[in-house]
């Protein structure tokens, strides 16, 4: 290859390519046309300002749940609770937007967003506190907290926010909404809202936090080696709680922005929001790099939005898109093989030690 590619890009790029090939093979096996489907997917995601607006809007919660997962992972924790934290954030933002509607618009928006982030943050910090003081596995606690949030929010929406016999809260006032005429005009009335801009800014903030800030340095150190961090005088317990708090704040923010910008209300749901889990995939694809998250969330969002057009123009089940997504992450997981294959061309192979942290330790 003459093309010079930055080495950290090789794995994600190869993985994406391989994932699409797997998807194409599966489509061929079942007699569908991959080229037609991929082109309708592309059209659905980028084929006009409206589609682009939808794709960018859909990126917003993905970015934030991905960043949330990335922060916890960098600190050495497997925060599988993004869904619950997102849901709490959504709920918190809508509750404040509805109950404090007497506030002026700008203040109402800020307070609602902060309330949502805080709901998510506190929800996640519970797991952090239990981990720091009792050593309780965050894998279990975040799973349990997911379900608690699901049933709690359903109960609160049905018995408190919604009117009798309804499963949804009323819509928030227009002044509390993150949608704006400018963005709607720009994107042919798509649901793109200002939350998108906030999410992009947060990516850069988190990058700066990881790489330039004292607290981010401590978080990474604790994530790599708790004993060494303690030896260096870092407050490990504080860092653990802090990392889980930030992680949840981000996922909660994702829920808040989605609630205020996209949904405008909150409804009873049967299952936990999928976006919490999708965020994990987004973060994994770029190895928790906050700037990379922008690109990978664009890809996943495009797959989701574009995927909806697949079944419009053919009878291919839309789940093919999720198969492609899962395959991409599978190839990221076996990056050792990708590195082996791409390095074979170079002269000196580097030895890499691989050690993973177990769940439930």
């Amino acid at each position: 290859m003459k093309l010079k590619v930055k080495s950290s890009w090789v794995v994600p790029l190869v993985a994406i390519l391989a994932g699409f090939i797997v998807g194409a093979i599966i489509m061929l096996i079942f007699g569908y046309d991959p080229i037609q489907n991929y082109s309708s997917l592309f059209d659905g995601a980028f084929g006009g300002v409206y589609s682009i607006g939808e794709t960018l809007r859909n990126m917003t919660p993905l970015i934030l749940t991905a960043l949330g997962f990335a922060v916890a992972s960098k600190a050495g924790f497997f925060n599988i609770g993004g869904s619950g934290q997102y849901l709490m954030g959504w709920f918190g933002a809508i509750v404040v937007a509805l109950k404090f509607s007497f506030l002026p618009g700008w203040l109402l928006i800020i307070v609602s967003i902060l309330a949502g982030a805080l709901f998510g943050g506190i929800w996640s910090a519970i797991a952090g506190v239990l981990r720091a003081y009792f050593g309780t596995s965050e894998v279990i606690t975040t799973i349990m907290l997911n379900y608690i949030s699901l049933y709690f929010v359903n109960f609160a929406v049905k018995d408190w926010l919604a009117g009798k016999g309804s499963d949804s809260s009323p819509n928030i006032a227009a002044k509390a909404s993150l949608r704006g005429d400018f963005l709607e005009n720009l994107t042919a009335n798509s649901t793109l809202h200002w939350g998108f801009l906030i999410a992009i800014i947060i990516c850069f903030i988190i990058w700066f936090y990881f790489n330039r800030m004292k607290s981010g340095f401590e978080l990474r150190s604790v994530g790599i080696n708790e004993d060494a961090a303690r030896y260096a005088g870092m407050n490990v317990k504080k860092t653990i709680i802090m990392s889980m708090l930030i992680s949840g704040l981000l996922a909660g923010l994702g829920g808040a922005l989605d609630g205020l910008g996209n949904f405008q209300n909150i409804s009873v749901s049967n299952a936990l929001p999928q976006v919490g889990y999708d965020g994990m995939a987004v973060a994994l694809l770029v190895n928790y790099n906050p700037i990379g998250v922008i690109f990978s969330s664009l890809l996943f969002s495009a797959l989701q939005i574009g995927g909806m057009s697949i079944s419009v123009y053919s009878d291919t089940p839309t789940e093919i898109v999720s198969i492609v997504t899962a395959s991409i992450i599978f190839f990221v997981a076996i990056k050792y093989v990708i590195e082996l294959l791409t390095k074979r061309r170079k002269k000196n192979p580097q030895k890499t030690a691989v050690k993973n942290e177990g769940a439930g330790e």
């Binding site: 050593g135 279990i140 799973i143 349990m144 999720s322 997981a333 990056k335 769940a359 439930g360 330790e361």
Partner: protein, 319 residues
């Protein structure tokens, strides 16, 4: 309702909800005892639920009464096949175990619903299964006063089977050479290697057994609770099973105990209505209770549970 009927109802529902968790948590135990972290149990259950549903819908007539049990095993077989992905990724290709497990959880529902749509004209849900692994009343034994009523009336045979399997799993892990070797590669693969134990082979076996048991767990879910397959057939049971495994300290009997406890907790919303004094409580508390209780019990009584020493570590043999 008298005492024996109340107890019978509690035990029966508990067992029905516990059975999928018992099988799956036992699966997790095998995988993690061999050193491979398995957060992909959920995905394995999805595949088990899907394949057994499809099988029983296709062959129920041909197989007659045996159909539910055969399709139960078919679920295990496909779960096992699916787990090959996790084994190859983690054991041979040095993947991060958690990432690989997450892939299983993403891939399984996508693939299974995709196939369901292909098999059933674009519908994301299979038709209802006519013969499932329901509850049975054991002839003879159910006539024993009190005990017969509580334990052998309208009871879940598959749950009792799960308990027997748990005991067998314990025996295999703690009394046989195979079990000793499997546990050794999860504790210190380098040491096992020096004794000529093929670390990779035992880790593959650990994951494949886990896939089989996880598949059984999913099959039970579809055959005795949801009675069809759709995206919501498996909604978090795999994660509950993972929790049961950790709760049970990676021991088959412990995992079974935890699974039965979760089963009891999950059946609370259903049986709450039958228990005097509990019927007035808002159902949200019963829904939240299993998860809340799990957290409280973990914090108060277990704290940091310690798994196999080399769980999650890839073993790279130097040549």
């Amino acid at each position: 309702m008298n005492l024996s009927t109340t107890l019978m109802t509690i035990l029966s529902t508990t067992l029905v909800y516990a059975a999928p968790l018992i099988f799956t948590s036992l699966g997790g135990t095998f995988s993690e005892r061999s050193g491979i972290v398995n957060v992909g149990l959920e995905g394995m259950m999805v595949v088990g639920a899907f394949s057994s549903s499809i099988f029983t819908l296709s062959f129920a007539n041909a197989l007659g009464d045996a159909a539910p049990w055969v399709s139960f095993l078919v679920g295990g077989a496909f779960g096992c096949l699916f787990s090959v992905l996790h084994a190859v990724a983690t054991v041979s290709f040095r993947a991060d175990h958690i990432i690989s497990g997450t892939v299983l959880n993403m891939l399984a529902p996508a693939l299974c619903v995709f196939l369901t749509r292909i098999f059933y004209d674009g519908k994301g849900q299979t038709p209802e299964i006519s013969q499932g692994l329901g509850t049975v009343t054991v002839p003879g034994l159910s006539k024993i006063p009190f005990i017969g009523k509580v334990f052998f009336t309208q009871t879940s045979m598959v749950a009792w089977a799960a308990i027997v399997v748990a005991i067998v799993c314990w025996y295999v892990l703690y009394r046989t050479g195979f079990g000793l070797r499997l546990r050794s590669v999860g504790e210190n693969p380098a040491a096992a290697d020096t004794l000529g134990i093929n670390v990779y082979r035992y880790r593959y076996l650990g994951v494949l057994i886990s896939g089989f048991l996880g598949g059984l767990g999913g099959a039970v879910m579809a055959q005795s609770i949801t009675l069809s397959f759709s995206i919501s057939t498996i909604s978090g049971q795999g994660f509950m099973a993972l929790a049961a495994m950790i709760f049970g300290k990676w021991n088959p009997l412990g995992a079974m105990g935890a699974a039965v406890f979760f089963g009891l907790a999950q059946s609370l919303p259903i049986i709450g209505a039958y228990i005097p004094g509990l019927s007035g409580i808002n159902s949200v508390w019963f829904q939240v209770a299993p998860y809340l209780i799990t957290i409280i019990v973990l914090v108060l009584f277990l704290g940091k549970s310690v798994g196999p020493a080399a769980d999650g570590e890839n073993y790279i043999k130097s040549k």
